[in-house]
């Protein structure tokens, strides 16, 4: 035992004098710190990090369920080959990207407009915040059922309103056509998540010191210039946060098409998550499902990075 500790204040075997107070102080704090982190680390690593890595591993295998487990056979890139040659996969990838980009842009623009309006008006702020928390906290399945009733082709209220305004002649089954289904989904999504964007942007707006605006106005800047030269650059972290949050969420869209359109008509609104779920739990192609999952993650990361770098360029140009 060459490193056996000697008594306090005595040289131990290695000849060093133990400085007890200093060691227990820092080490004790550190030990307590790791102990406090341990349960969270175990849960998060075990249930998110490990399964993601395992998804990657599975995507190179042919996976079959057995009576009380599963077995895997290595197949290299075969699952990805299946995806590359599947028009359904390319369609889903395209639809999901398109859906995410359009809804996130619409939500950012609308959200900015509304956040500015709330900031300007000030009076209705508390009421607005409570009202906006309704869509945010609503179960997506509930909002999907709500919209499917509104869009209904036989007794939907949307048709009644449009007919009363003489915008349409006869009732239309909105989710019945491909374009209609995509648009219906987008409107439902924008309704539900714009408030979230508003809250984040409003939080950012409130942290901009009022003097900045006043100074710009004193210098004779018009509202448009003030927005692009002062407000927008100072809001960049809030905008980026809202956008990345939303891109990640929109890319995983599942509940809305599952209830509202069933991924149809045909596969018009089959998002990557819906496709993955079908591969997994309807066709039991676990390897292919894992490949869909891995592709989804890669795509969403790419899209977020593209957005962030484009956004940084935009902000630098504006400022």
């Amino acid at each position: 035992m060459p490193y056996a500790a000697g008594a306090e204040g005595q040289p131990d075997v290695s000849g060093r004098i133990r400085v007890r107070r200093h060691r227990t102080h820092q080490d004790g704090d550190r030990r307590a710190g790791y102990l406090m982190l341990l349960p969270s680390a175990v849960v998060v690593a075990g249930v998110t990090v490990f399964p993601i890595l395992y998804s990657v591993w599975m995507s190179f295998h042919d996976v079959h369920l057995t009576v009380n487990g599963y077995d895997m056979r290595f197949t290299g890139l075969a699952n990805y080959g299946t995806l590359v040659h599947s028009s359904a996969f390319w369609h889903s990838a395209w639809f999901t990207t398109y859906y995410a980009v359009v809804t996130v842009f619409a939500e950012l623009i609308l959200g900015m407009l509304i956040a500015l309006a709330i900031y300007r008006v000030q009076r209705l702020k508390n009421l607005s915040l409570v009202v906006m928390l309704i869509p945010w906290s609503l179960i997506t399945v509930v909002s999907a059922q709500m919209w499917s009733y509104i869009y209904n082709g036989v007794y939907g209220v949307l048709n009644a309103i449009l007919q009363a305004l003489h915008l349409i002649q006869a009732p239309v089954t909105w989710p019945g056509t491909s374009t209609g289904a995509v648009l219906s989904m987008m409107v439902a999504d924008i309704w539900k998540t714009t408030p979230f964007v508003v809250i984040i942007l409003l939080g950012g707006l409130q942290m901009i010191p009022a003097e900045y605006h006043e100074a710009a106005v004193m210098d004779g800047a018009g509202p448009w210039t003030v927005f692009w030269k002062v407000t927008f650059p100072l809001l960049r972290s809030s905008i980026a946060l809202a956008a990345v949050f939303r891109i990640l969420q929109a890319f995983g869209v599942f509940d809305l098409p599952f209830v509202l359109t069933g991924g149809g008509p045909g596969n018009a609104t089959t998002s990557l998550a819906v496709l993955g779920e079908q591969a997994l739990f309807q066709n039991l192609h676990f390897g292919v499902g894992a490949a869909v999952a891995v592709s989804t993650v890669l795509m969403v990361l790419t899209l977020s990075l593209i957005f962030l770098s484009a956004f940084r360029a935009l902000v630098e140009e504006g400022a």
Binding site: G33, V43, V131, I139, Y149, F251, D255, A273
Partner: protein, 276 residues
């Protein structure tokens, strides 16, 4: 100043239009849940129920077993919230105030992972749970919900702990308190708003989650409310009245929670932007 007043007027117009557009669909769902079945399918629809009825609320419980879904949702959501609050306050304190290594970059990495679409992890989780015999059990949802909500919760708690002066830790230690005592008796009470924020966020996330609940707990006795409502319809008809009765009931706890904790939800939503 004429221009300024004009712009405030425009602000009002945008805001009121927006509030109306948010409330209208919601209003429509609530009144529909009180209309008799014939009126639910009337065209043109009635803006206000001609006859009021509670038949859909009765159906939700008696025909669709909404009470079971409600019980499952309450158990899963409350336990998830409890675990997340306990674990995240410990971890947030350690990251903010104790000398542990490599903390913030790791946390940000986990934060990003936790925002990945659920599809990224359900396949292996499903197979693990099947092997463990966990499918259709409460832990099948509580464990993943806890894991997915922890990074954001830790982030919020860390930001709140950073606002408590670090000297308190040194002062408490001078008085002979251990790290754990300092954490429980001094720091935790000072971060009550952070705990509320964390709890509300976790509650809403767990209450509304659908994908994992559908995949892991699809049996009739283990469904949570979102799965129950998602699968109310059968092949032949969509019982909108009954669906909306269940929907309105599912909103009530959230409405109470949101109304009571509005301030903390808003500060929590902006916390990432503040410190990020």
């Amino acid at each position: 100043m004429v221009e300024s007043r004009w712009r405030t007027g425009l602000g009002y117009a945008v805001l009121v239009l927006f509030l109306v557009l948010i409330l209208l669909p919601f209003y429509w769902m609530v009144v529909t849940s009180f209309k008799p079945t014939g009126e639910v399918a009337a065209y043109p629809p009635t803006a206000w129920p001609v006859h009021w009825t509670l038949e859909h609320y009765r159906n939700a419980f008696l025909r669709y077993g909404f009470g079971v879904y409600l019980r499952n949702s309450v158990i899963v959501t409350c336990l998830t919230t409890l675990f997340v609050v306990m674990l995240s306050s410990m971890a947030g304190f350690a990251i903010a105030r104790l000398p542990v290594r490599g903390k913030t970059p790791v946390l940000i990495f986990l934060l990003i992972i936790s925002m990945f679409p659920a599809i990224a992890i359900v396949t292996p989780l499903y197979m693990f749970m099947r092997a463990l015999g966990w499918l259709n059990s409460y832990q099948a949802l509580i464990v993943p919900y806890t894991a997915f909500n922890l990074p954001f919760a830790i982030w919020i708690m860390r930001n709140y702990f950073l606002q408590v002066p670090g000297v308190l830790l040194e002062a408490a230690k001078m008085d002979g308190a251990s790290v754990w005592q300092t954490f429980l008796r001094i720091f935790l009470p000072l971060t009550t708003p952070g705990i509320f924020t964390t709890a509300v966020f976790t509650f809403v996330a767990a209450w509304t989650e659908f994908f994992m609940a559908l995949v892991f707990n699809a049996s009739k006795t283990m469904r949570t409310i979102p799965v129950g409502i998602g699968l109310f319809s059968d092949q032949y008809n969509v019982p909108y009245g009954d669906i909306f009765a269940g929907s309105v009931l599912s909103i009530l706890p959230i409405v109470v929670l949101v109304a009571a904790f509005r301030k903390w939800i808003v500060s929590g939503l902006t916390a990432g932007a503040v410190k990020g």
